[in-house]
């Protein structure tokens, strides 16, 4: 796939190799898909204790300049950003004129008072970051759009993440889920830390200067609660949490309404519009979309992977397709998500899946497959 092309390295490449990771190409980067523990152990350890992920391939973008930075950003995305308090994070999307998702992103109003009114921090997907960057630069004339490629990005996820991170900084005591601020971190210096993640667990995403990232990771890994976790388990964790993977569960042909992400479109924005594709989105909000994203539990043990055809209960009619699917280690069985014609989207609807020519029984279920355990208030859970 990348033959003849130099793969990019994150600042933690040497660490991954020294830990014995199996490296694969992902969005142009050499990334660890798993460490010697393997996907199952890495997944289960994250749900039981704490997993450390390198997500430095993702784009860290800052928009700076004027007091209207947030309202300008609202012209590209359907989120309610004006209402964000300093340090508050919101999940949103860049939309195209048809209401299709160009990328799903995290939008933060900086906590620092000198930046709160005039700046926005975003985290965007690795595979989309160059296009996102060009799109925002073109559409946000007058604002300074910067890619922070001088920083690594780590995720520390799991029920013991707060306990571990509290040994390095105050962040666990100051932040609740979807809040962010700058902290002075032992072994790492000043870091922008968010209480957020992609696993359904409590956890943190930590933006650290590239040249201090490896030392900080080694310090985190020295704590017995922490295991390094690769992209393999990152994918199984987010699938069990019912979270979308861009390019699979979301793409430019899919609207937030079809994806069941209406909650991420603010009430004000639903009525007022003023974002790309607003007419399509508003019409789908009123009349319903023709297809919906659903969770799917196959019966038995066989896995239904991406691109598996979904049929009605009689196996007569193709009604959809799986967009993410595999083995859920915490569910201890197969899990999938996909898009089905809206008539079949109600949880409990019986379906068939065509796997290697055979029809397997399955049902739609509400997601997540594993309950989210976010920290609704700041602090470190006693355990």
């Amino acid at each position: 796939m990348f033959v003849g092309v130099t793969m990019l390295h994150t600042p933690l490449y040497d660490l991954h190799v020294s830990l014995g990771a199996k490296m694969v190409a992902f969005a142009g980067y050499a990334m660890p898909v798993q460490y010697p523990a393997g996907v199952l152990k890495e997944h289960l350890h994250t749900r039981a204790a704490a997993g450390l992920f390198d997500i430095s391939h993702m784009g860290q973008v800052s928009i700076e300049g004027r007091r209207d930075a947030m309202s300008r950003l609202e012209t590209l995305m359907p989120g309610e950003f004006l209402e964000l308090a300093p340090g508050q994070i919101r999940y949103s999307f860049l939309l195209n004129e048809q209401g299709g998702v160009m990328d799903d992103v995290m939008v933060t109003r900086p906590a620092a008072l000198e930046r709160a009114e005039t700046c926005v921090d975003l985290i965007v997907n690795a595979a989309c970051k160059q296009e996102d960057f060009a799109h925002m630069q073109a559409r946000l004339g007058g604002l300074k759009v910067t890619m922070r490629d001088d920083r690594a990005l780590l995720a520390l996820q799991g029920p013991l993440a707060a306990k571990v991170l509290a040994r390095f900084c105050e962040a666990p005591h100051k932040l609740a889920f979807m809040q962010s601020a700058l902290f002075d971190v032992a072994e790492a210096g000043p870091c922008l830390i968010s209480r957020s993640g992609y696993t359904g667990e409590d956890g943190f995403e930590i933006s650290v200067a590239s040249d201090r990232a490896e030392k900080f990771c080694r310090a985190l890994l020295a704590h017995s609660e922490v295991l390094p976790v690769g992209l393999g388990a990152r994918d199984t964790l987010r699938l069990e949490a019912g979270l979308c993977l861009y390019g699979h569960d979301l793409d430019t042909m899919t609207t937030p309404v079809e994806a069941g992400l209406v909650w991420a479109i603010g009430k004000r924005r639903r009525t007022q519009g003023g974002f790309p594709g607003a007419a399509v989105v508003q019409s789908q909000l009123q009349q319903g979309a023709a297809r919906k994203r659903v969770g799917i539990r196959p019966e038995g043990r066989a896995l239904a992977r991406e691109q598996t055809e979904i049929l009605d209960a009689e196996g007569m009619k193709v009604i959809g397709i799986v967009t993410s699917g595999g083995f859920g280690p915490s569910v201890n069985g197969p899990v999938a998500m996909g898009y089905v014609a809206t008539d079949y989207a109600k949880p409990g609807t019986r379906l068939m899946l065509r796997v290697r020519g055979n029809l397997l029984s399955a049902s739609t279920v509400s997601m997540p497959f594993v309950a989210h355990r976010y920290a609704t208030t700041p602090g470190v859970a006693q355990s």
């Binding site: 393997g38 996907v39 199952l40 066989a302 896995l303 992977r305 083995f327 290697r356």
Partner: protein, 126 residues
């Protein structure tokens, strides 16, 4: 006496008279990673050498498993249904997939022996 033979697709066959116990090699299980599902053939199925006979699924992908020899499936490892991880723990013993009643013992010479397979794997990881 048991005779162990190997394919280029990383299946093994342990031959005892006309019965071949078959599975995937330790190299294969390591390359696949955590194995979470094995789809086994129905007993009585007649297979040709090189024909797909089982599927092994890891957390990452589904892989086809081919029959090392012509024959009829006379047993399958039912224990893998509830414990597919046995393939990771003991690919060459407890993690066997199926047994064939070999119909053409002449085909055995087309397979690699222990040392030939070890050299073959050495070349792959070089």
């Amino acid at each position: 006496m048991t005779l162990s033979r190997f394919t280029k697709e990383h299946e093994w066959a342990a031959l005892e008279s006309d019965t071949a116990t078959c599975g995937i090699t330790d190299y294969a299980q390591k390359a696949l990673g955590d194995i979470v599902y094995v789809e086994l053939p129905p007993i009585g199925k007649k297979v040709r050498q090189g024909e797909q006979v089982a599927v092994v699924e890891s957390t990452k992908a589904a892989s086809e498993v081919f029959a090392p020899l012509d024959g009829e499936v006379i047993a399958v490892n039912e224990a893998l249904a509830s414990d597919p991880g046995a393939v990771n723990r003991a690919a060459m013993s407890e993690g066997w997939f199926f047994k064939l009643k070999v119909s053409d013992s002449g085909q055995v010479s087309s397979l690699m022996d222990d040392s030939a397979y070890a050299r073959y794997v050495q070349e792959l990881i070089k």
